[in-house]
């Protein structure tokens, strides 16, 4: 999964019709919210609270879609799906993958926020 680009910036900007301000606003929101999201996912995993896990994973999937961050979208989607299927044997490993993808995405967004868009 690490081989896949963390996000498709060109597609994301096409979605926003080139509106960099909108992209940055959403990126900042994502960075602000992602720690709480990861904590909520961790808690739901620990508590085996599958409805909460599915809900948080679904929200994360929707947010990651904004940036065309396909690996995060895919991992969150799998976590949501596993939680809905109550596949307890899968969720811990997928949870870890979600965590890693979110870290990768936040790092990439952080770079854009600090250094601007790649030319």
């Amino acid at each position: 999964m690490d081989g896949q680009p963390v996000m498709d910036l060109a597609s994301a900007m096409e979605r926003f019709d080139g509106d960099q301000d909108l992209f940055l606003t959403l990126a900042e929101m994502f960075l602000e919210r992602s720690p709480a999201t990861l904590t909520a996912i961790q808690t739901a995993l620990a508590d085996k609270n599958l409805p909460m896990l599915a809900k948080e994973a679904h929200k994360l999937k929707g947010s990651a879609m904004e940036f065309c961050a396909r690996p995060t979208v895919a991992a969150a989607g799998q976590l949501e799906e596993s939680a809905r299927r109550s596949a307890l044997n899968e969720i811990a490993a997928i949870g870890e993958r979600v965590h890693a993808e979110v870290q990768r995405l936040t790092a990439a967004l952080q770079v854009i926020i600090e250094k601007g868009f790649p030319s």
């Binding site: 096409e14 019709d17 929101m29």
Partner: protein
């Protein structure tokens, strides 16, 4: 990388500033998705209003009547499909255009959304082109639906206006019909020893057939029936005008005589053909009470039927033009003798020209036979039953022409004819 912002001017929305900007209501509990989609829609040239949950969304649909509602599927409380259902269940909101938005895009979910009232689906991952295409398609539908609703409202308004106008006209027509009916004689005994009954059924609210029986001088009874060509208000107004001419005091002044021929000759002069070719036919009789002799004259009218119990029954008519065709002609009176219990029927052609369902006219012979079959019944019975027989021939209640049937009876010294048991 991304398309430059000015490219949006190529979009169909650009250059249509005269049209109001379409309003889109965006309902999503996730702030990030809401900001993203609202930003994208605004950039596409739409006005966007936002609601943070299903309940607030439904309230905004009611309050703002947006051109399009974009609803997130998953929301706490009232979710997207439930908002859809609430919109479809509300008569006022039913025609709203609703697009469900979701991060899922499985066919099963799409089917569920459509079955619960969504018009279309939009993935949260949709590209700018897809968002634009779906929004434009939905707005086209919305515009069409609104146009239909506006047309329907216009039609409703016109219909209400027309109904009110029609009610007003019908009420006026009713008043006019009552006025015309008030001109007709009261059934009973118009003179000592004379009984009288009638039936009258105009084809419309107002009829052009009118008749009267009343004293013309001390020893004579005047009786007439007139038929104004055409039907309805115009015919009724003309009929009432001729009726005024035929009033006793007017005849004394304008004709100077109660001779039927003289009366019709004068009426023929005074009531020429109208510009529209409308005219009258008229039958006038004068019954001399002491001698029970009737003198009569007709202008194009089918005549009266004398049903004689002792003598020969006959039609009292003459070949003549209707009023107004030739102002120079003179009409002459003829006479007939009545005997006790004889009946004189004045009638409009509408009764014997009643067509059967196959188009065959009832005819004077059948009418005469029906009247004669009631020789032992009361006059009221004869009139009522003859009308019933005519309706049976017609196969309905509404005659195509005005129908009048007036009967005058010479009572014998023992009183009016009694119903045969």
């Amino acid at each position: 990388m991304a398309e430059p912002a000015h490219r949006i001017e190529d979009e169909p929305l650009a250059g249509k500033a005269a049209k109001p900007t379409p309003v889109i209501l965006l309902v999503d509990d996730d702030e990030m998705t809401r900001i993203s989609m609202a930003g994208r829609l605004k950039r596409l040239g739409y006005r966007v209003i936002e609601a943070g949950d299903g309940v607030a969304g439904l309230a905004a649909v009611r309050a703002q009547r947006p051109d399009l509602v974009i609803l997130d599927w998953m929301m706490p409380g009232l979710d997207g499909p439930s908002v859809c259902e609430a919109i479809r269940a509300d008569g006022e909101l039913r025609s709203s255009q609703v697009v469900l938005m979701t991060a899922h895009d499985q066919p099963g979910q799409i089917a569920e959304g459509l079955s619960r009232g969504a018009d279309d689906f939009l993935s949260k991952a949709a590209s700018k082109q897809e968002v634009l295409a779906r929004v434009q398609a939905s707005l086209r539908s919305s515009a069409l639906v609104r146009e239909i609703e506006r047309t329907r409202d216009d039609l409703d308004r016109s219909h209400r206006l027309l109904s009110a106008k029609q009610a007003e006209l019908e009420s006026e027509l009713q008043s006019a019909a009552e006025f015309v009916r008030a001109q007709l004689p009261l059934p009973g005994m118009p003179a000592p020893g004379i009984g009288m009954q009638w039936a009258y059924q105009p084809s419309l609210a107002l009829g052009g057939d009118l008749f009267q029986v009343g004293a013309w001088g001390s020893e004579t009874l005047g009786l007439y029936i007139l038929d104004a060509s055409g039907h309805g208000v115009a015919a009724a107004l003309r009929a009432v005008a001729l009726m005024s001419f035929l009033r006793e005091e007017n005849l004394a002044k304008a004709v100077g005589s109660f001779d039927p021929g003289a009366i019709i000759t004068e009426a023929n002069r005074r009531f020429p053909l109208t510009q529209d070719g409308e005219y009258f036919t008229l039958w006038v009789g004068r019954l001399h009470l002491p001698s029970q002799t009737v003198s009569y004259a007709a202008a194009g009218h089918c005549g009266a039927f004398l049903h004689s119990l002792q003598g020969a029954s006959q039609w009292l008519s003459s070949a003549s033009l209707p009023l107004g065709f030739d102002p120079t002609i003179t009409f002459d009176s003829a006479t007939a003798q009545l005997r006790p219990r004889d009946r004189l029927y004045l009638l409009s052609d509408g009764i014997y020209e009643a067509p059967s369902p196959t188009g065959e006219l009832w005819g004077r012979e059948r009418l005469q036979a029906t009247l004669e079959s009631h020789r032992n019944h009361t006059l009221a019975h004869s009139i009522g039953d003859t009308m019933t027989t005519a309706r049976q021939w017609l196969g309905g209640d509404i005659f195509p022409d005005d129908v009048a049937l007036l009967g005058v009876e010479v009572l014998d010294s023992s009183g009016p004819a009694k119903e045969k048991s």
